[in-house]
């Protein structure tokens, strides 16, 4: 009886996510079509330089991109293409956008994955410690440091790290070496500075969230009950308080992943020359290569959608009040 109610909920969430996905694609389509920049402009510039006839070029480009057809036909074509995995053609790199994505996504993935791991692990530990030792100098120090962590602009942090550790001390290379095999120690070393850059902001945030979630729960009555049983303090904190703090924490961490990480990763890749999706989007901007920029935006957004959906679903399993409602 209860199990089916739960899967009902999951099905509802999936349908809801599909609706949101549709909304995302539609808004992106509207943005691109409403924009003044048309793909024809780039060709126009080229042709004008070579002395061709702009009107003819415009017509040809529009025919090729289907821009001469009525808007709803364009919309259907757009949706249809996306479903078939056709993300368009990147004219700056002369390959299908999907190819481009396939070869570059792994770099973004390893950066985001390692940074999140680093930030979550350290952040939660420090947050718990800070909450338990509230009002001590250590707590004040960590709180102050976390303010600094969330305030420091992460692109500046990246540059400063390069300045100090690569330029002045020569410990790391200034640019990411793509010839390194992914699972090597050298690769890990090359990722140290980028991970610190992307992870610091997240880390500081997690310290604050964990600390506040722990503090909220430390005040609750069941903590006194646990102590009255004679349990050692580390069990009280680790088993009783932390399990309760974990619930809102998981939600916040996952949602944070969506909003902050992708923007930060974009910038970090550019600074360190990591050839991930952010980097190729950046290159595409200057080549006026529309489809790539749009594709990267869509991929980032769909990642967020997926993360949100999984958080929703996992929360129903983590919180017994929902599981056995």
């Amino acid at each position: 009886m209860r199990k089916s109610w739960l899967s009902d909920y999951i099905v509802k969430r999936i349908i809801y996510s599909i609706i949101i996905a549709w909304g995302i694609l539609t808004i992106t389509f509207i943005l691109v079509r409403v924009g003044p920049n048309s793909p024809a402009d780039k060709y126009l510039a080229n042709i004008a330089a070579r002395g061709g006839d702009p009107a003819q070029v415009t017509a040809a480009v529009e025919a090729r991109y289907g821009l001469d057809k009525p808007i709803y036909v364009q919309y259907f074509n757009y949706m249809g293409n996306l479903f078939r995995g056709n993300l368009g053609w990147s004219f700056s790199t002369s390959m299908p956008v999907s190819e481009l994505i396939k070869t570059h996504w792994i770099y973004s993935f390893q950066l985001i994955f390692l940074s999140s791991l680093f930030a979550a692990f350290l952040g939660i530990l420090i947050g718990i410690y800070s909450a338990v030792k509230q009002y001590t100098k250590t707590d004040y120090a960590f709180t102050f440091l976390s303010f600094i962590g969330i305030s420091i602009p992460n692109f500046w942090l990246g540059i400063m790290l390069i300045l100090i550790f690569s330029v002045k001390f020569g410990l790391f290379k200034t640019y990411y070496d793509t010839t390194l095999p992914l699972f090597s120690l050298d690769n890990l070393k090359a990722l140290v500075l980028p991970v610190i850059t992307l992870g610091t902001g997240m880390l500081a945030g997690y310290v604050r969230y964990t600390r506040s979630a722990m503090l909220d729960n430390l005040k609750k009555a069941f903590v006194t009950t646990a102590r009255a049983k004679g349990l050692p303090e580390r069990t009280v904190i680790g088993k009783h308080v932390f399990r309760n703090a974990l619930l809102p924490l998981v939600t916040i961490i996952m949602f944070d992943l969506g909003s902050i990480v992708f923007g930060g990763a974009y910038l970090t890749e550019i600074i360190f020359g990591i050839p991930g999706l952010g980097q190729i989007s950046f290159n595409a901007i200057f080549a006026n290569d529309y489809p790539v920029v749009v594709a990267v935006t869509l991929i980032g957004t769909f990642m967020v959608l997926l993360v949100n959906l999984s958080t929703d679903i996992s929360y129903t399993y983590l919180d017994p009040r929902i599981r056995y409602g």
């Binding site: 009555a221 069941f222 009950t225 102590r227 349990l231 009040r321 056995y324």
Partner: protein
């Protein structure tokens, strides 16, 4: 005399806050005898809960501190023993049941987990035995289908069941003393009666020595053997319950009894004690009750009343009797 298992002697627990020093417990004294049910009675804010928390040192320690007094239990002074010794006593020799069962239970752990956890800590039993013992306790408390309940989470139980689970939890390691902090306050009348039944049975069957905290004199009269009336952090009158109700000496105790609605009287105004409980940071001088006392004399605002023995079992702190 050898009957006494716990003695609280001149206990003073103060809280040092930014707005001043709160003298929550300011010189409380009483004894608990084996097998008896001692009630701590008083309005909210009089210090009864803090007294109980002080016995097990469960109050928050940065603001709170036991500044004076001894609590003698089993040749130990609980105000001064080490944290390790304290932890061995908590849950095993002295157990405590709290007021609001909903918030006193951990919402993300199962009932079974929460009951067996202290048994695993204090008793040399394996997990099968702790589980069986837990289920037996639950049944004893009147909880049906104990095995299923072991796997439940707190929010799946009703208020009365939760309170019983709390009581079962506290009994799991067979403590000598049970401290109950207003277990009937947050529940409705039918559950209240059931819970009082449980405490009566505990006394009868297990000879459980209980410290029962309440503000409700009706409850005191039902299950208490002796009562300590508290006001403003001090104990103002101590006596067997029959004398507290029948021959109250302290004006505050009399006021409390007068407050009880009496269905035999015809409709009229309900009596109340005038004024409000004192500001804990700014207590009145002399006797803390004097601003509200109908029998206040000049000396009451100047000097604290000493403790006078009316009889062997009956003590009062009031200038009327010095």
């Amino acid at each position: 005399m050898s009957n006494v298992i716990l003695k609280v002697n001149n206990l003073k627990t103060y809280f040092f806050t930014r707005r001043g020093v709160v003298k929550a417990v300011d010189g409380v004294e009483f004894e608990l005898k084996h097998g008896e049910c001692l009630c701590l009675v008083g309005e909210s804010g009089c210090g009864k809960t803090v007294t109980a928390l002080s016995i097990l040192r469960l109050f928050d320690s940065p603001p709170g501190k036991i500044v004076d007094g001894q609590i003698s239990y089993d040749s130990l002074n609980l105000t001064e023993c080490s944290s390790k010794q304290m932890r061995q006593i908590r849950g095993k020799d002295i157990a405590m049941v709290f007021q609001e069962a909903q918030s006193a239970l951990n919402p993300v752990l199962t009932i079974g987990d929460q009951i067996t956890e202290q048994m695993k800590l204090h008793l040399p039993l394996d997990s099968n035995h702790t589980r069986e013992r837990a289920m037996t306790l639950l049944s004893e408390m009147g909880i049906p289908s104990a095995e299923r309940v072991m796997g439940y989470y707190p929010h799946q139980l009703s208020g009365g069941m939760k309170q019983r689970v709390l009581i079962a939890m506290s009994l799991s390691c067979n403590p000598q003393i049970l401290i109950a902090d207003e277990p009937t306050t947050a529940v409705d009348v039918t559950i209240k009666a059931q819970i009082l039944d449980i405490f009566r049975e505990l006394k009868a069957k297990r000879q459980m020595s209980t410290i029962f905290i309440t503000h409700d004199l009706a409850v005191v009269s039902e299950i208490g053997d002796r009562a300590v009336v508290m006001y403003g952090g001090k104990d103002v009158e101590t006596a067997p319950v029959s004398e507290i109700i029948g021959k109250p000496k302290h004006p505050y105790t009399r006021g409390l009894i007068d407050c009880l609605p009496d269905s035999s009287k015809s409709a009229g105004r309900l009596t109340s004690i005038p004024g409000t409980t004192p500001n804990p940071v700014d207590m009145p001088t002399g006797c803390t009750f004097h601003p509200r006392c109908p029998k206040a004399m000049k000396i009451c605002s100047q000097k604290e009343p000493p403790e006078t023995a009316i009889s062997k079992e009956h003590k009062v702190s009031c200038h009327l009797y010095t």
